[in-house]
């Protein structure tokens, strides 16, 4: 197979951008949580809950955007639970996060079985259709790759710009970053550390859930148990890879989606000497390598994993 010719193929980039979309939502969500000082290992379960709740909303007759909004609310709810445990009570962010992941994933599977007790083939919904934005989508190359995607993909790209702007250029962003770097100083400034962290975790979790909803509402048209399939964990690695910067995070998600797209093509051709499982390993192995490369710079938000309690230091 000729990898070089892939780079010039529109279809490949179309697939890459599509596959990057849930990762962009998840990575932005995780990045916001971590910038405020809270590691959210609940992401895998929150994405599963978003997958399931968005799909259910549409299956029961709601609109597609209603499904996205509902998923976001469910995500924010799980985020609130995570925040109560980690921010307000100061419990281990690792263990609580894993608990949230288990809860989100198992509740989604349980609810799915409750709503559809006896089905072998999951029913389908009508997913988001690709947009064809006039003028823009006729641009060479960029047109089909960026402007013939679904509205959610465009939203994801806008989200990165908005997150970067809010986080790095506004007083709210400054407050959030301060809470993640030096909560004591933030408190001295009269900021509510607990409030800001809770808000960040809820907003971030809502975004993760939208990333999950993209899978059922735009990428596929049905819900399968286990369909998030490790994407959440990849997002966590991507946040480290990006050294907590939105722009770099976007680059990282595109890079990983490209790996995924290459892997799919190799699998389809199935003439390669290397078994396809090894291509599937690449995103995970690259995540680990990226982690090693980036961890040396150690740009961690200083107060990540450190619970904050008033009057305790």
């Amino acid at each position: 197979m000729d990898i070089l010719s892939l780079v010039f193929e529109t279809g490949f980039w179309l697939a890459t951008v599509r596959m990057a979309t849930p990762l962009i939502f998840g990575t932005m969500g995780e990045l916001i949580c971590e910038r405020a000082g809270v590691l959210n290992l609940g992401i895998e379960g929150i994405m599963a809950a978003g997958c399931m709740s968005g799909w259910t909303w549409v299956y029961l007759g709601g609109t597609l955007w209603g499904g996205v909004l509902f998923a976001a609310c469910v995500g924010a709810g799980l985020g609130l639970l995570h925040a109560v445990f980690t921010v307000h009570l100061g419990l281990s962010q690792h263990v609580t996060g894993l608990g949230i992941t288990m809860l989100g994933a198992s509740l989604s599977s349980f609810a799915f079985r409750m709503i559809l007790p006896q089905v072998t083939t999951p029913p389908k919904i009508v997913p988001f259709a690709p947009l064809d934005i006039p003028v823009l989508s006729t641009l060479p190359f960029i047109g089909p790759v960026l402007f013939s995607q679904t509205a959610l993909t465009l939203t994801a790209f806008i989200l990165v710009a908005v997150t970067a702007y809010v986080l790095l250029r506004t007083p709210l962003g400054l407050a959030l970053r301060m809470v993640g770097e030096n909560p004591l100083a933030a408190e001295a400034q009269g900021l509510s550390v607990l409030g800001l962290r809770t808000g960040a975790v809820m907003a971030g979790s809502a975004l993760m859930a939208v990333g999950g909803a993209f899978l059922t509402l735009a990428a596929f048209d049905a819900f399968y148990i286990g369909m998030v399939n490790g994407r959440g964990w990849i997002c966590i690695a991507l946040v480290v890879f990006s050294s907590w910067k939105p722009g770099k995070a976007l680059l990282g998600t595109l890079l990983f989606a490209a790996f995924d797209a290459i892997q799919m093509r190799v699998q389809q051709q199935s003439i390669s000497a290397i078994p396809y499982q090894f291509y599937l390993m690449l995103p995970y192995l690259c995540s680990i390598l990226a982690l090693i490369a980036m961890s040396r710079k150690a740009a961690y938000p200083k107060a990540l994993l450190v619970p904050f309690r008033k009057g305790e230091r």
Binding site: S92, L98, F110, M114, M281, I292
Partner: protein, 349 residues
């Protein structure tokens, strides 16, 4: 709302808190049972009966608890040293792969030698495997939570390749599974006509051994000290690096023993679904036990009861057996809450 550290806590409360938490978790999950249109009391009754009600049910539950004791101990030992090993699932399969590699005809030993040999080599492989992320953590500062987690997927893909490729058993009528281990590698059954195997006794012995080590030996003290304060242990001149390596070997080894035990005790051959998430459940088991090695046995029993009982409950009343997963997750969160309340009191103002 203000949080105040408690000066001390009666011993009874420390033991009682997790139990109360479990009751709370069951109360919360009763809501889901009501949603399914059944009565919670009779549902939990059916669950208990299905897990403990007969000799068959009891042996099934103990069989299910066996791998959970191993993976629970693995998590408990590592977490005590604040080595966040989330990779129990991967180490489980490393152990199972090692046992498949050596146990399917490569080596021929009598059973009394073969079984210890497979457990030792499996544990060694799992321990060495955990050394990779541990080394990345200590040398290159790569967060072990993420690396151990990502390696789970890598190991599972290797197993996927093995059972579809080089290790695929031609006698398996096309199913993706490896050849069965030789007869001398199969663990003897403890109760006739049941699935309960020698692995259970071994798991209990490991729990006792780990408890003794943590409580009475220098190694155990060092593990606890490194977990309590890395700085203080370094300052006190403890061999911090060596302790972390020992913890990793022990933790990875225990998780891998779960894999050997399931392979040689239950299934007999390697498949992709040999573990329905034993590595991840092990984390819950360890947390429910407050990282106490003997408590691990009890909490593994609890999780096993929930799973085996939920299976028969879901057959008796139409409710999805995912209720077991939900109960486990809610129990974990409730135990976290309970452990918090034994350390702090909440003052409402």
């Amino acid at each position: 709302m203000r949080l105040e550290p408690r000066e001390s806590m009666a011993f009874g409360w420390q033991v009682g808190a997790p139990l109360l938490a479990v009751v709370a978790a069951m109360a919360i999950c009763s809501g889901l049972i009501l949603w399914a249109g059944a009565s919670p009391l009779s549902a939990w009754g059916l669950l208990l009966k299905g897990a403990l009600g007969s000799t068959f049910a009891l042996t099934e539950t103990l069989t299910r608890a066996t791998p959970l004791i191993f993976t629970g101990l693995a998590a408990a030992v590592a977490f005590r040293a604040k080595l966040w090993n989330i990779g129990g699932e991967g180490q489980f399969y490393v152990g199972a792969c090692m046992a498949t590699w050596l146990g399917t005809g490569m080596i021929d030993l009598p059973a009394w030698l073969m079984i210890p040999f497979l457990f030792l080599t499996g544990a060694l492989a799992g321990g060495l495997f955990l050394l990779i992320p541990t080394w990345l953590k200590t040398r290159l500062k790569a967060d072990e939570v993420v690396t151990t987690l990502l390696l789970n997927f890598v190991v599972l893909l290797v197993v996927n390749w093995l059972v579809f490729g080089p290790w695929k058993d031609p006698m398996a009528m096309g199913w993706p599974q490896a050849a069965p281990v030789v007869d001398s590698a199969m663990l003897p059954v403890l109760v006739p006509k049941s699935s309960l195997h020698l692995g259970f006794v071994l798991a209990l012995a490991c729990a006792g051994l780990v408890w003794w080590m943590m409580r009475f030996t220098v190694w155990g003290f060092e593990i606890r000290a490194v977990g309590a304060s890395l700085k203080a242990s370094t300052f006190a001149g403890m061999p911090v690096g060596a302790t972390i390596v020992r913890t990793a070997l022990l933790s990875g080894g225990l998780a891998a023993m779960a894999g050997v035990s399931e392979l040689c005790g239950v299934k007999g051959y390697l498949t992709l679904d040999l573990s329905p998430g034993f590595g991840y459940s092990g984390i819950v088991v360890a947390m429910l036990a407050a990282l106490h090695p003997l408590g691990v046995v009890l909490s593994a029993m609890f999780i096993a009861i929930i799973y085996i009982g939920a299976d028969s409950m879901s057959r008796a009343i139409t409710i999805s057996n995912y209720i077991a997963d939900v109960t486990t997750a809610v129990s974990l969160l409730m135990v976290l809450l309970a452990m918090f309340l034994t350390r702090y009191r909440i003052r409402w103002k």
